[in-house]
């Protein structure tokens, strides 16, 4: 008996040890996965050799297994796993290929958030990356189908703050920036120009000599280029930096010089003639006094603004109502734009708008106009996009274009 007992102990110990080790490992896996994947589904992403079949592995499991693979194999230890998760978010946002869905590093996020509050630096403008729409559809479908050269963005000015260095230099909304400090900002249309010329030579509508000129001009341009990210950084940050800008307006090439500086722009201001100059910045709704009498609101040069201010602003400017929906390009259930509280029904508001009235400001304008509570003087940019902002734990963040505002009246007419 004691013989048996003596030999049983080591066996029990070993079995328990193995069990405990495997158990510990398993518990860790569950903990790392957390709520991401139901534990019943288990795949080995890296363990099985290529089968050629289509396997759809849930994204959480996929992500987890690849983090494990990187941690085991990468030449240097990966100490911060969370960095990988944030990288994945960055990848997802870039993969949308949407000029209004952008990822910001912690430093860029600080700049972005300051701008949302009306604290500007650099040239005092807002610029947007413009792409060739057809190419964007292709790249979203399959990166390979798109022509990489046609994915070069163009930088378009979408807001020029009154009194800003950019305004002094002569920049206007709609201008396309083509150069900064002697470096060219090459966009898809420059490349298309060369391509079209090439095609014209094939079709014999252009001589090879003429084509040679087009190509030489392009080659001269691309000798020294600046990336769009660097250009945006120069335009949006810094004080006391001299920028020599070149831009095109309706085919004409223009130039100007400015010195960057910081500007604090109030969200609500009384302009000449008692006009309320409103910028849809973060916190604007708290600053706007209740509107009770006929008034004129200037919604120009407000930029994309902060969508989360739209509802509180509507609550101050108009009675509670169902204004319409945020509709996604991809379809799906629309998100209603509804206010539950409301201000008093004021006398009609006159809105001063122009092509710089876009984003949150444009949604606000459209909503008020569609109910007949406001009239326009001018016409808006046509990008009433509801763009949300998300901040991640390391300070980085992203904006996400969640759809276009469609007023209810318009929907009903359809």
């Amino acid at each position: 008996m004691s013989e048996l007992k003596r030999s049983l102990w080591p066996v029990v110990t070993v079995v328990c040890a193995i069990g405990a080790f495997v158990g510990g490992n398993e518990v860790r896996t569950r903990q790392d996965l957390g709520t991401a994947v139901p534990p019943s589904q288990s795949f080995d992403v890296a363990g099985i050799e290529l089968t050629g079949q289509t396997v759809d592995i849930p994204e959480g499991e996929y992500f987890y297994q690849l983090t494990q693979l990187l941690e085991r194999e990468y030449v240097e230890p990966i100490t911060d796993e969370r960095k990988l998760a944030i990288g994945a978010v960055k990848g997802m946002i870039s993969g949308l290929w949407d000029p209004y869905s952008l990822f910001y590093s912690p430093e860029d996020m600080v700049v972005f958030q300051a701008r949302q509050k009306g604290e500007f630096a650099g040239a005092g403008i807002e610029a947007t990356l413009a792409f060739d729409e057809k190419e964007l559809v292709k790249v979203r479908r399959n990166a390979h189908a798109a022509d990489p050269l046609m994915l070069f963005p163009e930088i378009r000015v979408t807001m020029v703050l009154p009194g800003s260095p950019a305004e002094g230099a002569g920049l206007k909304v709609g201008d396309r920036l083509t150069g900064i400090n002697g470096k060219a900002l090459v966009g898809f249309s420059d490349i298309r120009k060369v391509r079209d010329a090439q095609l014209a030579v094939v079709k014999k509508t252009m001589t090879p000599q003429e084509f040679g000129k087009v190509r030489a001009e392009f080659q001269k341009k691309v000798k020294s280029v600046m990336g769009a990210a660097r250009a945006m950084e120069l335009l949006n940050t810094g004080e006391g930096r001299i920028l020599n800008l070149e831009w095109s307006r309706g085919g004409a090439v223009m130039q100007g010089t400015l010195t960057t500086r910081s500007m604090k722009v109030p969200a609500v201001q009384t302009g000449p003639g008692g006009v309320t100059v409103l910028k849809v910045f973060k916190g604007v709704s708290g600053e706007l006094p209740p509107v009770t009498e006929a008034t004129v609101i200037d919604l120009r040069q407000s930029g994309m603004g902060d969508a989360s201010e739209v509802v509180p602003l509507l609550e101050r400017l108009a009675p509670a109502a169902n204004f319409g929906n945020i509709v996604k390009d991809k379809g799906g259930a629309p998100q209603p734009l509804v206010t539950t509280k409301g201000g008093q029904r004021a006398a009609p508001i006159k809105l001063l708008v122009d092509e710089s009235t876009r984003g949150a400001a444009e949604i606000l304008a459209l909503a008020l106009k569609s109910k007949g509570w406001a009239t326009y003087e001018g016409s808006t940019a046509g990008v009433p996009l509801w763009v949300t902002t998300t901040q991640l734990e390391d300070g980085s963040g992203y904006t996400l274009n969640t759809g276009k505002f469609v007023p209810e009246a318009v929907e009903a007419r359809k």
Partner: protein, 430 residues
């Protein structure tokens, strides 16, 4: 009593082993063990969101709320490539299935198709190269032809990639194409049977009148060694006065192929030393008894697109004084990648080691703040930069400055240095 003591000891032991099992992956990944995670097992309120949960939360949010139409798979793969990007190493990449095919083709050196390299053309796709002995050659496809129709569908205005997709298909199946040829008025219809095509990654020819052997090595794939041997043997038999290996634009490939090819010049010597994380360096030697009888000098052409295995091949031969390097500094990739095929036919390419040349040199590329090249790569013994103003025809002994310089060196004539840049031509395999 003794039993109880033993039981308590066993419990303690099991607890410790459990903890070891819990943190074992941290030890494996050489980072501090996740004590926090252990603590949260006891006290659930101290639990923080795991990286996977963080990812999952954002994935769900982005997929549900984004306005644009992007597929679920696309978002997943975009996330994986972003995650690999966060590692901060340009050579650690995730390739989704669509990209991994191209990558596999590059390393395997063979594919199923008609055996041609296609370039862009507004009317369809221009045939840039027809591979020797490939189905396209047998069917009569000529360099310069423009493919305007594939299986009855017009290729005009299509992207070369899409045309390639239409032309490629299963082995043994037929594809019907229509081509435009410059001296023919009507399009020519051709029917081609698709077959396995081995991409010529090493091709040799004799440059006359200098009687210098030129071998162009496009990459270091599996069949490259054999192709290189064939070309070399032929040129040796023709008694070449010297050899030029053109490795410009060669992105590298398999380390084994490069080491084997170095073995044609140096026997049983150290080729490279690789060092993994926390591991001891591992030395890779060149093979025995594979040295070729080469009595004449060797020049290797490199440029900033010569990378990885191409740099090992050039750098090792340079250090053993078997070759002189001409051209521009090479890329500067001093790492080794493990290529893992995943179940869904994606690829995880992960840098697993650094390598050093026999002298101990690390040729790693250094960039400045703007991401522009600062230093790194192999320095050519003779720097020759092709000029923008002058027409450059790669592989032409007169219209290719770097090649011209190589010939001059082999012939004992030294030239003057000039400035410029090579135009890269993009083509696709069909």
């Amino acid at each position: 009593m003794k039993f109880l003591l033993r039981l308590v000891a066993l419990f303690l032991f099991v607890g410790v082993v459990f903890a070891v099992g819990f943190v074992s992956r941290d030890v494996w990944a050489s980072r501090p063990p996740a004590v926090q995670g252990l603590r949260s097992l006891v006290d659930p309120s101290s639990r923080t969101q795991s990286p996977t949960e963080l990812f999952q939360q954002q994935y769900d949010k982005i997929l549900a709320n984004a306005s644009v139409s992007v597929g679920r798979q696309k978002v997943k793969y975009a996330a994986m490539s972003g995650m690999f990007g966060a590692v901060g190493d340009p050579h650690t990449n995730f390739l989704e299935p669509a990209d991994s095919d191209t990558f596999r083709l590059e390393t395997n050196g063979n594919f199923v198709g008609i055996g041609a390299r296609l370039g862009t053309d507004p009317a369809g796709a221009k045939v840039a190269v027809v591979f020797k002995g490939a189905p396209a050659e047998k069917a009569g496809v000529k360099v310069g032809d423009t493919i305007i129709e594939v299986d009855g569908k017009s290729a005009a205005g299509m992207d070369t990639d899409d045309i390639v997709k239409m032309i490629r298909g299963p082995e043994g199946s037929m594809v019907h194409i229509k081509v435009l040829r410059s001296n023919e008025a009507a399009p020519i219809g051709l029917t081609i049977r698709r077959a396995v095509v081995i991409v010529p990654s090493a091709e040799g020819r004799m440059l006359e009148p200098d009687h210098v052997g030129l071998i162009t090595i496009a990459s270091f794939a599996q069949p490259t060694v054999e192709q290189f041997d064939q070309a070399l043997d032929q040129l040796i038999a023709q008694k070449a006065d010297g050899f030029i290996f053109d490795l410009r634009g060669n992105p590298g490939g398999l380390l084994d192929s490069a080491v084997e090819m170095i073995g044609r010049f140096v026997e049983n010597k150290q080729a490279v030393r690789t060092k993994r994380r926390g591991g001891t360096p591992e030395t890779i030697y060149t093979p025995f008894n594979k040295v070729k009888p080469i009595k004449t000098p060797v020049v290797i052409l490199i440029n900033s697109d010569s990378a990885s295995a191409a740099e090992i091949f050039s750098g090792v031969l340079q250090e053993y004084h078997k070759a002189v390097l001409v051209g521009e500094h090479s890329y500067g990739k001093s790492s080794v990648q493990n290529v893992k095929n995943l179940v869904d036919s994606s690829i995880a390419k992960i840098t697993i080691a650094k390598y050093y040349l026999p002298s101990g040199r690390d040729i790693g590329r250094k960039l400045d703040e703007d991401g522009e090249y600062q230093s790194g790569g192999l320095k050519p013994d003779y720097e020759v930069v092709p000029s923008y103003e002058e027409e450059t025809v790669p592989g032409d002994p007169i219209k290719d400055k770097q090649l011209r310089k190589a010939i001059e060196i082999l012939k004992g004539k030294a030239g003057v240095q000039v400035q410029a840049r090579r135009k890269s031509q993009e083509t696709r395999l069909a």
